[in-house]
Protein backbone atom coordinates (compact mmCIF):
# COMPACT_ATOMS: atom_id res chain seq x y z
CA UNK A 1 0.00 0.00 0.00
CA UNK A 2 1.35 3.43 -0.89
CA UNK A 3 2.27 5.86 1.90
CA UNK A 4 -0.41 8.23 0.64
CA UNK A 5 -3.15 5.61 0.88
CA UNK A 6 -1.77 4.55 4.24
CA UNK A 7 -2.48 8.06 5.52
CA UNK A 8 -5.98 7.94 4.03
CA UNK A 9 -6.62 4.62 5.76
CA UNK A 10 -5.47 6.05 9.08
CA UNK A 11 -7.82 9.01 8.81
CA UNK A 12 -10.73 6.74 7.81
CA UNK A 13 -10.12 4.04 10.41
CA UNK A 14 -12.62 5.32 12.98
CA UNK A 15 -15.27 5.74 10.30
CA UNK A 16 -14.66 2.27 8.86
CA UNK A 17 -14.82 0.70 12.33
CA UNK A 18 -18.20 2.33 12.87
CA UNK A 19 -19.48 1.13 9.49
CA UNK A 20 -18.49 -2.44 10.40
CA UNK A 21 -20.28 -2.15 13.78
CA UNK A 22 -23.44 -0.86 12.13
CA UNK A 23 -23.37 -3.55 9.45
CA UNK A 24 -23.17 -6.27 12.08
CA UNK A 25 -26.02 -4.61 14.00
CA UNK A 26 -28.18 -4.52 10.86
CA UNK A 27 -27.37 -8.19 10.17
CA UNK A 28 -28.49 -9.19 13.69
CA UNK A 29 -31.69 -7.15 13.96
CA UNK A 30 -34.38 -5.67 11.76
CA UNK A 31 -35.37 -3.20 14.45
CA UNK A 32 -32.58 -0.68 13.93
CA UNK A 33 -33.29 3.07 13.95
CA UNK A 34 -30.79 4.29 11.38
CA UNK A 35 -29.99 8.01 11.69
CA UNK A 36 -26.48 7.41 10.37
CA UNK A 37 -25.64 7.95 6.74
CA UNK A 38 -28.91 9.05 5.11
CA UNK A 39 -29.70 5.55 3.89
CA UNK A 40 -33.14 5.41 2.24
CA UNK A 41 -35.49 3.93 4.88
CA UNK A 42 -38.36 3.11 2.53
CA UNK A 43 -38.93 1.95 -1.05
CA UNK A 44 -37.93 4.56 -3.64
CA UNK A 45 -40.58 6.92 -5.03
CA UNK A 46 -42.53 5.37 -7.93
CA UNK A 47 -41.59 8.29 -10.21
CA UNK A 48 -37.89 7.53 -9.64
CA UNK A 49 -38.36 3.83 -10.38
CA UNK A 50 -40.36 4.64 -13.53
CA UNK A 51 -37.58 6.96 -14.74
CA UNK A 52 -35.01 4.16 -14.42
CA UNK A 53 -37.29 1.55 -16.03
CA UNK A 54 -37.97 3.84 -18.96
CA UNK A 55 -34.27 4.64 -19.36
CA UNK A 56 -33.30 0.95 -19.25
CA UNK A 57 -35.51 0.11 -22.25
CA UNK A 58 -33.14 0.14 -25.27
CA UNK A 59 -34.23 2.33 -28.20
CA UNK A 60 -31.18 1.63 -30.39
CA UNK A 61 -28.49 -1.03 -30.86
CA UNK A 62 -25.89 1.15 -29.14
CA UNK A 63 -28.14 2.06 -26.16
CA UNK A 64 -25.74 0.35 -23.73
CA UNK A 65 -22.64 1.07 -25.81
CA UNK A 66 -19.72 3.30 -24.81
CA UNK A 67 -21.27 6.57 -23.78
CA UNK A 68 -19.85 10.09 -23.79
CA UNK A 69 -21.92 12.95 -22.41
CA UNK A 70 -25.59 12.53 -23.36
CA UNK A 71 -26.68 15.88 -24.77
CA UNK A 72 -30.37 15.69 -23.70
CA UNK A 73 -29.19 14.99 -20.12
CA UNK A 74 -26.90 18.05 -20.24
CA UNK A 75 -29.78 20.15 -21.57
CA UNK A 76 -32.16 18.96 -18.83
CA UNK A 77 -29.57 19.56 -16.10
CA UNK A 78 -28.72 23.03 -17.47
CA UNK A 79 -32.41 23.98 -17.54
CA UNK A 80 -32.93 22.73 -13.97
CA UNK A 81 -29.85 24.47 -12.60
CA UNK A 82 -30.61 27.75 -14.43
CA UNK A 83 -34.12 27.78 -12.94
CA UNK A 84 -32.75 26.95 -9.49
CA UNK A 85 -29.95 29.51 -9.31
CA UNK A 86 -31.16 32.24 -11.68
CA UNK A 87 -28.03 32.06 -13.86
CA UNK A 88 -28.18 30.81 -17.48
CA UNK A 89 -25.99 27.69 -17.64
CA UNK A 90 -25.13 26.22 -21.06
CA UNK A 91 -25.65 22.48 -21.70
CA UNK A 92 -21.99 22.02 -22.75
CA UNK A 93 -20.89 23.45 -19.38
CA UNK A 94 -22.67 20.64 -17.52
CA UNK A 95 -20.05 17.89 -17.08
CA UNK A 96 -21.91 14.75 -16.04
CA UNK A 97 -20.33 12.72 -13.26
CA UNK A 98 -20.91 9.75 -11.01
CA UNK A 99 -22.55 11.79 -8.25
CA UNK A 100 -20.88 14.49 -6.20
CA UNK A 101 -17.85 12.29 -5.51
CA UNK A 102 -17.15 12.04 -9.24
CA UNK A 103 -17.55 15.79 -9.63
CA UNK A 104 -15.20 16.60 -6.73
CA UNK A 105 -12.59 14.14 -8.02
CA UNK A 106 -12.79 15.53 -11.56
CA UNK A 107 -12.43 19.15 -10.40
CA UNK A 108 -9.50 18.41 -8.10
CA UNK A 109 -7.81 16.27 -10.75
CA UNK A 110 -8.15 18.93 -13.44
CA UNK A 111 -6.82 21.88 -11.45
CA UNK A 112 -4.68 20.86 -8.48
CA UNK A 113 -1.03 19.82 -8.76
CA UNK A 114 1.29 18.14 -6.27
CA UNK A 115 2.43 20.84 -3.82
CA UNK A 116 -0.68 22.98 -4.24
CA UNK A 117 -2.87 23.75 -1.25
CA UNK A 118 -6.61 23.20 -1.06
CA UNK A 119 -8.43 24.98 1.77
CA UNK A 120 -11.20 23.03 3.43
CA UNK A 121 -12.83 25.11 6.21
CA UNK A 122 -13.52 23.35 9.51
CA UNK A 123 -17.16 22.36 9.61
CA UNK A 124 -18.17 23.98 12.85
CA UNK A 125 -16.06 27.13 12.74
CA UNK A 126 -19.16 29.29 12.22
CA UNK A 127 -21.46 27.16 14.35
CA UNK A 128 -20.23 27.21 17.92
Amino acid sequence: VSARVDRVLASLSEFMRMVTDVESLLARSEDVCDFGAGTPPELAAPAYVDALKHAAEPRSADWFGYKGAHRPAQEAAAAGLSAELGIEFLPEDILLTRGAHGALAAALGAVVEAGDEVICPRSTSTWR
Binding site: L25, S29, F35, G38, D50, I87, L96, A103, I119, P121
Partner: protein, 239 residues
Protein backbone atom coordinates in the same frame (compact mmCIF):
# COMPACT_ATOMS: atom_id res chain seq x y z
CA UNK B 1 -10.58 32.99 8.75
CA UNK B 2 -10.34 31.76 5.16
CA UNK B 3 -8.33 34.80 4.02
CA UNK B 4 -5.75 34.05 6.72
CA UNK B 5 -5.35 30.49 5.42
CA UNK B 6 -4.46 31.54 1.86
CA UNK B 7 -0.81 31.22 0.83
CA UNK B 8 0.98 31.60 -2.53
CA UNK B 9 0.45 27.86 -3.04
CA UNK B 10 -3.32 27.95 -2.57
CA UNK B 11 -5.07 26.61 -5.66
CA UNK B 12 -8.54 25.82 -4.48
CA UNK B 13 -11.09 26.52 -1.77
CA UNK B 14 -13.69 23.90 -0.99
CA UNK B 15 -17.03 25.29 0.14
CA UNK B 16 -20.16 23.35 1.06
CA UNK B 17 -23.43 25.26 1.00
CA UNK B 18 -25.96 24.36 2.30
CA UNK B 19 -23.56 22.86 4.76
CA UNK B 20 -23.42 19.23 5.86
CA UNK B 21 -23.67 18.76 8.84
CA UNK B 22 -24.53 22.18 10.33
CA UNK B 23 -27.43 22.86 7.93
CA UNK B 24 -26.28 26.46 7.43
CA UNK B 25 -26.76 28.32 4.14
CA UNK B 26 -24.02 30.85 3.35
CA UNK B 27 -25.55 34.30 2.96
CA UNK B 28 -25.27 36.41 -0.20
CA UNK B 29 -23.28 38.99 1.78
CA UNK B 30 -20.68 36.51 3.02
CA UNK B 31 -20.32 34.97 -0.47
CA UNK B 32 -19.88 38.39 -2.06
CA UNK B 33 -17.13 39.23 0.44
CA UNK B 34 -15.55 35.83 -0.24
CA UNK B 35 -15.58 36.46 -4.01
CA UNK B 36 -13.91 39.86 -3.57
CA UNK B 37 -11.28 38.33 -1.29
CA UNK B 38 -10.56 35.47 -3.73
CA UNK B 39 -10.21 37.89 -6.67
CA UNK B 40 -7.63 39.87 -4.70
CA UNK B 41 -5.78 36.75 -3.55
CA UNK B 42 -5.68 35.34 -7.11
CA UNK B 43 -4.22 38.63 -8.38
CA UNK B 44 -1.64 38.60 -5.57
CA UNK B 45 -0.69 34.96 -6.31
CA UNK B 46 -0.45 35.55 -10.06
CA UNK B 47 -2.66 32.53 -10.76
CA UNK B 48 -6.34 31.82 -10.14
CA UNK B 49 -7.73 30.24 -7.01
CA UNK B 50 -10.73 28.08 -7.91
CA UNK B 51 -13.76 27.80 -5.68
CA UNK B 52 -15.19 24.28 -5.61
CA UNK B 53 -18.76 24.72 -4.36
CA UNK B 54 -20.38 21.51 -3.18
CA UNK B 55 -24.12 22.23 -3.45
CA UNK B 56 -25.40 18.71 -2.86
CA UNK B 57 -28.23 19.96 -0.62
CA UNK B 58 -29.19 23.04 -2.65
CA UNK B 59 -32.73 21.72 -3.22
CA UNK B 60 -33.37 20.61 0.37
CA UNK B 61 -34.24 23.95 1.99
CA UNK B 62 -36.50 24.55 4.98
CA UNK B 63 -38.76 27.47 5.98
CA UNK B 64 -38.79 28.93 2.43
CA UNK B 65 -35.04 29.62 2.61
CA UNK B 66 -33.29 30.52 -0.65
CA UNK B 67 -30.06 29.01 -1.98
CA UNK B 68 -27.44 31.50 -3.19
CA UNK B 69 -24.52 30.15 -5.20
CA UNK B 70 -21.03 31.65 -4.92
CA UNK B 71 -20.96 31.61 -8.75
CA UNK B 72 -23.02 34.80 -8.52
CA UNK B 73 -20.02 36.60 -7.01
CA UNK B 74 -17.00 34.62 -8.23
CA UNK B 75 -16.69 33.49 -11.84
CA UNK B 76 -14.04 30.85 -11.14
CA UNK B 77 -16.54 28.71 -9.23
CA UNK B 78 -17.05 25.04 -10.08
CA UNK B 79 -20.46 23.88 -8.89
CA UNK B 80 -21.05 20.34 -7.70
CA UNK B 81 -24.56 18.90 -7.96
CA UNK B 82 -25.81 15.41 -7.15
CA UNK B 83 -29.14 13.64 -7.50
CA UNK B 84 -28.34 11.28 -4.58
CA UNK B 85 -30.00 13.59 -2.06
CA UNK B 86 -33.04 14.91 -3.96
CA UNK B 87 -33.89 11.33 -5.08
CA UNK B 88 -32.77 9.64 -1.84
CA UNK B 89 -30.92 7.11 -4.00
CA UNK B 90 -27.20 7.50 -3.20
CA UNK B 91 -26.37 4.07 -4.64
CA UNK B 92 -27.34 5.27 -8.13
CA UNK B 93 -24.47 7.59 -8.94
CA UNK B 94 -25.57 10.66 -10.89
CA UNK B 95 -24.48 14.25 -10.67
CA UNK B 96 -22.49 16.92 -12.48
CA UNK B 97 -19.94 19.67 -12.32
CA UNK B 98 -21.29 22.95 -13.72
CA UNK B 99 -19.16 25.82 -15.01
CA UNK B 100 -20.73 29.30 -14.84
CA UNK B 101 -21.22 31.08 -18.18
CA UNK B 102 -18.71 33.82 -17.32
CA UNK B 103 -15.92 31.52 -16.12
CA UNK B 104 -12.58 32.38 -17.78
CA UNK B 105 -10.65 29.40 -19.28
CA UNK B 106 -13.96 27.54 -19.57
CA UNK B 107 -13.10 25.58 -22.73
CA UNK B 108 -9.70 24.57 -21.38
CA UNK B 109 -11.29 23.38 -18.12
CA UNK B 110 -13.99 21.41 -19.94
CA UNK B 111 -11.32 19.52 -21.92
CA UNK B 112 -9.19 18.95 -18.80
CA UNK B 113 -12.12 17.55 -16.83
CA UNK B 114 -13.08 15.23 -19.69
CA UNK B 115 -9.46 14.03 -19.85
CA UNK B 116 -9.38 13.40 -16.09
CA UNK B 117 -12.53 11.31 -16.49
CA UNK B 118 -10.96 9.16 -19.19
CA UNK B 119 -7.63 8.81 -17.44
CA UNK B 120 -9.09 7.90 -14.07
CA UNK B 121 -11.36 5.13 -15.33
CA UNK B 122 -14.18 7.41 -16.37
CA UNK B 123 -16.06 9.70 -14.02
CA UNK B 124 -19.07 9.68 -16.38
CA UNK B 125 -22.32 8.15 -15.08
CA UNK B 126 -23.56 4.90 -16.59
CA UNK B 127 -25.58 5.31 -19.80
CA UNK B 128 -28.93 4.43 -18.19
CA UNK B 129 -28.48 7.06 -15.46
CA UNK B 130 -27.72 9.66 -18.13
CA UNK B 131 -30.88 8.73 -20.09
CA UNK B 132 -32.94 8.98 -16.87
CA UNK B 133 -31.61 12.41 -15.84
CA UNK B 134 -34.34 14.40 -17.60
CA UNK B 135 -37.03 12.57 -15.65
CA UNK B 136 -35.11 12.71 -12.35
CA UNK B 137 -34.06 16.37 -12.35
CA UNK B 138 -37.40 17.72 -11.14
CA UNK B 139 -37.98 15.06 -8.45
CA UNK B 140 -37.74 16.16 -4.83
CA UNK B 141 -37.75 14.63 -1.40
CA UNK B 142 -40.85 15.23 0.70
CA UNK B 143 -39.70 18.60 2.07
CA UNK B 144 -42.75 19.17 4.27
CA UNK B 145 -42.29 15.73 5.80
CA UNK B 146 -38.59 16.35 6.43
CA UNK B 147 -39.31 19.72 8.00
CA UNK B 148 -41.88 18.26 10.38
CA UNK B 149 -39.39 15.53 11.40
CA UNK B 150 -36.80 18.25 11.97
CA UNK B 151 -39.17 20.26 14.16
CA UNK B 152 -40.25 17.23 16.15
CA UNK B 153 -36.73 15.97 16.79
CA UNK B 154 -35.24 19.39 17.59
CA UNK B 155 -37.98 20.11 20.14
CA UNK B 156 -37.69 16.66 21.73
CA UNK B 157 -33.88 16.63 21.91
CA UNK B 158 -33.74 20.16 23.35
CA UNK B 159 -36.31 19.18 25.98
CA UNK B 160 -34.03 16.28 27.03
CA UNK B 161 -31.15 18.75 27.46
CA UNK B 162 -29.27 18.32 24.17
CA UNK B 163 -27.63 21.36 22.55
CA UNK B 164 -28.31 21.84 18.84
CA UNK B 165 -29.30 24.49 16.29
CA UNK B 166 -32.24 24.35 13.90
CA UNK B 167 -30.84 23.61 10.42
CA UNK B 168 -31.86 25.95 7.57
CA UNK B 169 -31.33 23.20 5.00
CA UNK B 170 -29.96 19.63 4.43
CA UNK B 171 -31.46 16.67 6.27
CA UNK B 172 -29.12 16.66 9.24
CA UNK B 173 -29.09 17.70 12.88
CA UNK B 174 -25.69 18.35 14.43
CA UNK B 175 -25.92 17.71 18.15
CA UNK B 176 -23.35 18.31 20.85
CA UNK B 177 -22.43 15.03 22.53
CA UNK B 178 -23.29 15.09 26.26
CA UNK B 179 -19.96 13.36 26.97
CA UNK B 180 -16.60 14.34 25.47
CA UNK B 181 -16.15 11.03 23.66
CA UNK B 182 -18.83 11.13 20.96
CA UNK B 183 -17.85 7.68 19.66
CA UNK B 184 -18.52 6.28 23.13
CA UNK B 185 -21.86 8.07 23.24
CA UNK B 186 -22.77 6.67 19.79
CA UNK B 187 -21.91 3.18 21.10
CA UNK B 188 -24.26 3.79 24.04
CA UNK B 189 -27.08 4.60 21.58
CA UNK B 190 -26.22 1.55 19.46
CA UNK B 191 -26.78 -0.70 22.49
CA UNK B 192 -30.45 0.18 21.97
CA UNK B 193 -30.12 -0.19 18.20
CA UNK B 194 -30.13 3.56 17.48
CA UNK B 195 -27.46 4.56 14.96
CA UNK B 196 -26.00 8.08 14.67
CA UNK B 197 -22.80 9.31 13.05
CA UNK B 198 -20.15 10.06 15.71
CA UNK B 199 -18.42 13.36 14.98
CA UNK B 200 -14.85 12.15 15.44
CA UNK B 201 -15.24 9.84 12.42
CA UNK B 202 -15.52 12.96 10.25
CA UNK B 203 -13.23 15.37 12.12
CA UNK B 204 -16.00 16.79 14.32
CA UNK B 205 -15.05 15.54 17.76
CA UNK B 206 -17.60 16.35 20.47
CA UNK B 207 -20.64 16.19 18.21
CA UNK B 208 -22.82 13.60 16.58
CA UNK B 209 -25.00 13.81 13.49
CA UNK B 210 -28.59 12.67 13.03
CA UNK B 211 -29.99 12.07 9.55
CA UNK B 212 -33.66 12.99 9.27
CA UNK B 213 -34.23 10.44 6.51
CA UNK B 214 -35.27 7.91 9.19
CA UNK B 215 -38.98 6.99 9.33
CA UNK B 216 -41.51 8.36 11.83
CA UNK B 217 -41.68 4.89 13.41
CA UNK B 218 -37.90 4.97 13.96
CA UNK B 219 -38.19 8.41 15.56
CA UNK B 220 -40.99 7.14 17.84
CA UNK B 221 -38.78 4.32 19.10
CA UNK B 222 -35.55 6.33 19.24
CA UNK B 223 -36.67 9.41 21.20
CA UNK B 224 -36.95 7.57 24.57
CA UNK B 225 -33.48 6.11 23.87
CA UNK B 226 -32.03 9.61 23.37
CA UNK B 227 -33.73 10.72 26.59
CA UNK B 228 -32.36 7.76 28.55
CA UNK B 229 -28.85 8.18 27.13
CA UNK B 230 -28.87 11.82 28.28
CA UNK B 231 -29.94 10.77 31.79
CA UNK B 232 -27.10 8.20 31.84
CA UNK B 233 -24.60 10.83 30.72
CA UNK B 234 -25.65 13.22 33.49
CA UNK B 235 -25.56 10.61 36.23
CA UNK B 236 -22.49 11.09 38.43
CA UNK B 237 -19.85 8.43 37.74
CA UNK B 238 -19.87 7.33 41.41
CA UNK B 239 -23.55 6.36 41.50
Amino acid sequence: VIAAAITPRTRMLLLNTPHNPTGRIFSAGSLEALGTMLDAASARNGRPIYLLSDQAYSRILFDGNVMVTPARFYSRSLLVHTYSKSSLAPGQRLGYLALPPDMPEKGQLRRAIAAVGLASGNTLPDAVMQYALGDIDHLSVDLAGLQSKRDRMVAALQSYGYTLHVPQATFYLLVRSPIDDDAEFARRLRQDRVVVLPGRTVDLAGFFRISLTATDAMIDRALPVFAAAMRDARRPASS
